[in-house]
Symmetry: C2
Subunit: 209 residues, 2 copies
Amino acid sequence: MSKSANISMPVIRRLPGYYRTLKVLEEKGIDRISSGKLSELMNSNASQIRQDLNCFGGFGQQGYGYIVSDLKEEIEKIIGIDRTKNAVICGFGNLGKALYHHFDANKYGFELVGLFDSDKQKQGQVVGKLTIQSEKNIVEFCKANNVETAIICVPTKFAECVVDLLYESGVKSYWNFSHFKVSTKYSDVVEENVHLSESLLTLSYLIDN
Amino acid sequence: MSKSANISMPVIRRLPGYYRTLKVLEEKGIDRISSGKLSELMNSNASQIRQDLNCFGGFGQQGYGYIVSDLKEEIEKIIGIDRTKNAVICGFGNLGKALYHHFDANKYGFELVGLFDSDKQKQGQVVGKLTIQSEKNIVEFCKANNVETAIICVPTKFAECVVDLLYESGVKSYWNFSHFKVSTKYSDVVEENVHLSESLLTLSYLIDN
């Protein structure tokens, strides 16, 4: 499989949807699927699906469709789920807690190896197989444990301080729930932002318009 | 202020960012701001900002800039934060809990008035000022309490059932954390999806590419 260079962000953002749909199909024991059927399941259109998947090298065969398990495996490789990346959660308030307990990061290629919170009351608490640590340990811990990714769950006003420590430790990828824009300060990182408030405000707008 | 019809989704999605930035400026006691300065703060460019705000009627004055409090108030009205909408959380697992405790929906124009979970162990528990109810109460409760918005925190496989009840109750707007697409089944609703797994998978792709 040969990847085209410069895949556009919209295509990249659709990949997880393909992955999810293919996983469901595989679980249902479906071996083969046409781009037409796949497009129905994904509320997309067949030609977009063919175009998207062509960006990553051709998978399908005309008149035959895609082999579900093969396509799923290829997309797994493209997304990088097949390589586990060590990650830490910074900020163990409700959001950090919810992500830790609710969200199976392992399923998506991330292994949670550390939890940090600046609240002394929380430090030392054992949660699952991890112990909440002081943010003062970030640099040492992340270097020693080859941490690649940080999940930023601290309030925006504390985010820059925490990111400074993480960056110093060599952490170059951020799943960022704060409003501090990591990539503006550090241009060589990758960042994926989740702004819940902006999503809810968008809904508010849509309700009345 | 006159709104242009057919505002594009990218513009709408930028409005919450304007709102947030203006709130910070107001809190800092800044009265007036140019589109240039605003663009720096928002990592945008001045001409886009002027264009965006023009969609909703002109606010600024050339060479003078925008009055922060006026602009904030106008955007508040446009987004609809000035009108409180009753909302319920369906699914009170970690995610539902995190949103309830962590997320100040009131700040964004939503009042949480009900919590629902199908787990009998949870039903009857008092959380803050609300009591967790059985999903069997959804229709009656939502009709009686003029609920406009539902926050869908149940697993995807249960989402359709819950949405059926909500829709029957007249709920027409959905903040949806599941992968069940509400608007595909009910075309007259507004829906804002948050797909955490897809966001993390996108990050995974970006790390290795």
